[in-house]
């Protein structure tokens, strides 16, 4: 069992943080890599990119949004409970390089994944502007941490309750227009990454995105995680999860992520019935 030693709720309880004892994974993991978690015997294998690792303490931290049956099951795990299985680190680590001016764009729980990457990019000497967004102020996560990890933090809310009133893409475009940006890293919901990609294509910048397709094994054995990048099929679990954001077929990814929407509802309803809700 992989024990949970810290648990926090964020964004009005819709987002959960778990710090988990996993010394071997913590020792090996690098920014951008993910783990696969399975709560119990009957559980699903769920991939989540690590938000934090502490090799000394032997822990990894994951931050996830409660969206369906499996994450609802995760939510019910308390401190001292644990995950039956945690597998990793999986996937390729982020390619980190000093390029100069960088923009990191994050939305939703993508901000959690973006955090260690932002910090690492800054640590090796990049000038990092970070733009994070949420629907409304109370759903924003990791503001303090992102502030510390970047040179300049911009915040956006769709409803204007905090920071810039509008989308991250608008602020990103302003920063791009100031010139000099070499690299954009965007991690968040697929529509956000697609919108970012549509804008950055018009500039002379590279775009790095982190994809989160449905996975089973995470070792290249099933092909369930396949995504189309530059017209070629790639397995996100071994070839990614990070790809050139100007080449990813986001529409296909979005459709494939919806493969089991009906089943997820059935599974969730079943879970609620079992719990007597």
């Amino acid at each position: 069992m992989f024990k949970i030693i810290r648990r926090e709720e964020m964004a009005e309880g819709t987002v959960i943080l778990n710090e988990i004892e996993a010394p071997l994974i913590a020792k090996k993991a690098r920014p951008g890599q993910f783990v696969i978690l399975k709560a119990n015997e009957t559980g699903e294998r769920i991939p989540l990119t690590m938000a934090e690792t502490d090799p000394e303490k032997g822990t990894i931290t994951i931050i996830y949004m409660v969206v369906g049956k499996s994450t609802a099951l995760f939510r019910d795990l308390k401190v001292d409970d644990g995950y039956q299985d945690v597998i990793g680190p999986l996937g390729k680590a982020t390619h980190l390089e000093k390029v100069g001016k960088v923009i990191c764009v994050g939305g939703g729980t993508g901000v959690a994944v973006l955090h260690p990457i932002t910090r690492a990019l800054k640590e090796i000497g990049n000038d990092v502007t970070c733009i994070i967004g949420a629907r409304t102020k109370d759903l924003l996560i990791l503001e303090e941490q992102m502030k510390a990890a970047s040179n300049d933090l911009r915040i956006c809310t769709d409803d204007g309750s905090y920071g810039h009133h509008g989308f991250v893409t608008q602020v990103m475009q302003e920063v791009l227009d100031q010139g000099g940006v070499k690299l954009v890293v965007a991690i968040g919901p697929v529509p956000m990454m697609k919108a970012v990609s549509n804008i950055t294509k018009g500039y002379d910048v590279e775009l790095q995105v982190s994809l989160n397709p449905i996975m089973i094994d995470g070792t290249g054995m099933c092909g369930g995680c396949r995504v189309t990048v530059g017209g070629k099929t790639k397995f996100a679990c071994v070839d990614g999860p990070e790809f050139d954001g100007h080449k990813v077929n986001f529409d296909e990814l979005m459709l494939r992520l919806g493969s089991y929407l009906d089943d997820e509802k059935e599974s969730h309803d079943h879970y609620c019935r079992v719990r007597g809700e």
């Binding site: 009957t42 294998r45 597998i87 099933c222 089943d263």
Partner: protein, 473 residues
Amino acid sequence: MAETAAKKAKKEKIPRQAMPEQEPKVRARNFEEVPTGQSAEAAMQEAARCLQCKKPACVAGCPVEINIPAFIQQVKDGDFTAAITTIWETNALPAVCGRVCPQELQCEGVCIVGKKGDPVAIGNLERFVADYERKHREAKPPEKSEPTGKKVAVVGSGPSGLTVAGDLVLKGHEVTIFEAFHKPGGVLVYGIPEFRLPKEIVFSEVAGLEKLGAKLECNAVVGRSVTIEELFEEGYDAVFIGVGAGLPRFLNVPGENLIGVFSANEYLTRSNLMKAYLFPEYDTPVIQGKNVVTLGAGNVAMDSARTALRLGADTSRIVYRRSRDEVPARGAEVHHAEEEGVDFHFLTAPTKFFGDEKGRITGMEGLKMELGEPDASGRRRPIPIEGSEFELECDLVIIAVGANANPLLTQSTEGLKLNKWGYIVADEATGKTSKKAVWAGGDIVTGSATVILAMGAGRDAANSIHDYLTWGW
């Protein structure tokens, strides 16, 4: 002389004892094992059909050379415990092999009785003996040697890895198995369905290994969680790599990434390992097609097409680009699939898949083929017939056209020689690789093959590893 002739005549009269099976209509809708097992009487009757050949062809036909006439004689005498002891000398997983070996190409294919009539049902007898022992636990487990203090890491818990672990633990070495999945067994657990090989059998074999002292580390993806180099640094003296083939082949035709197009690996893993057939009690779903097409005609394809029926398909079709004569699956699987209502379309190949606005598959286009000259594999090459395009409606497609070598481990290990397809180059007799103290065997060396060949490779490697640990490289 006259007496032996009379004896022979009598023997020939005993017909091959049929294996009782669930009715095709019933079993096509459940996941319980298809053959239900024989009675002791039937097994003894069957054993009486063996001629006890002086030069038994069956033994030579068995990749691990089980002493077949000896164990059959013991079955005939009703001494099932002696029979299992005989089998264990060369085969640690008889309950598995009795069920999944291609006997018609091996022992039974060359059985002398089979020259005129049906061969002795060696596979069924092996299964009977193993099941009897699992139920009664009467045989003495093999003796374990004194501890040697040597440590061996086995990567992968498929049949090759389990064999290596079993052999070396008995020889007194400390063995740890590293398995990427959360459950051990390899293809036996994630690939081959419950209705053909109940998982309880595999887990009971693994539990036996653990009882002997082998350690099992699941969730350990070697190459990511830990590298081979690090295993040596941690004090392992030798490493065996038995990671299987494990990279699904796709067809590279348009529409292959539509929802509802699966690799057989994904489809079967969802259903078997993750138990999607018990959804929603188990959380992992799988798409339940009404009109299912499986591409390919090996064991993997049969398993997929039959699983689809059990998950509620109205039609389950096998589409294969060669003819019936080239079908690589076990005879019994093809026969079972046909009985259950799987439709076979030979000499047809897919050219594209169509979908709807939600990205879900709605059909495929195929071409008719004819057979041309033999290709590298010695089989006649299928050639498309121009203008023979046709369409097939379907809402689930399973691609079961083979596997390639998964590069995850091999690319993270320096000094490991690979062939041009990415499989590990290993000495045929010993399993030694180009890297010191590293052995390999099973599908990662041969490409997709069989359980028994993987076990045979494991046995050879175990012997070689033992020699190394005793005498040096």
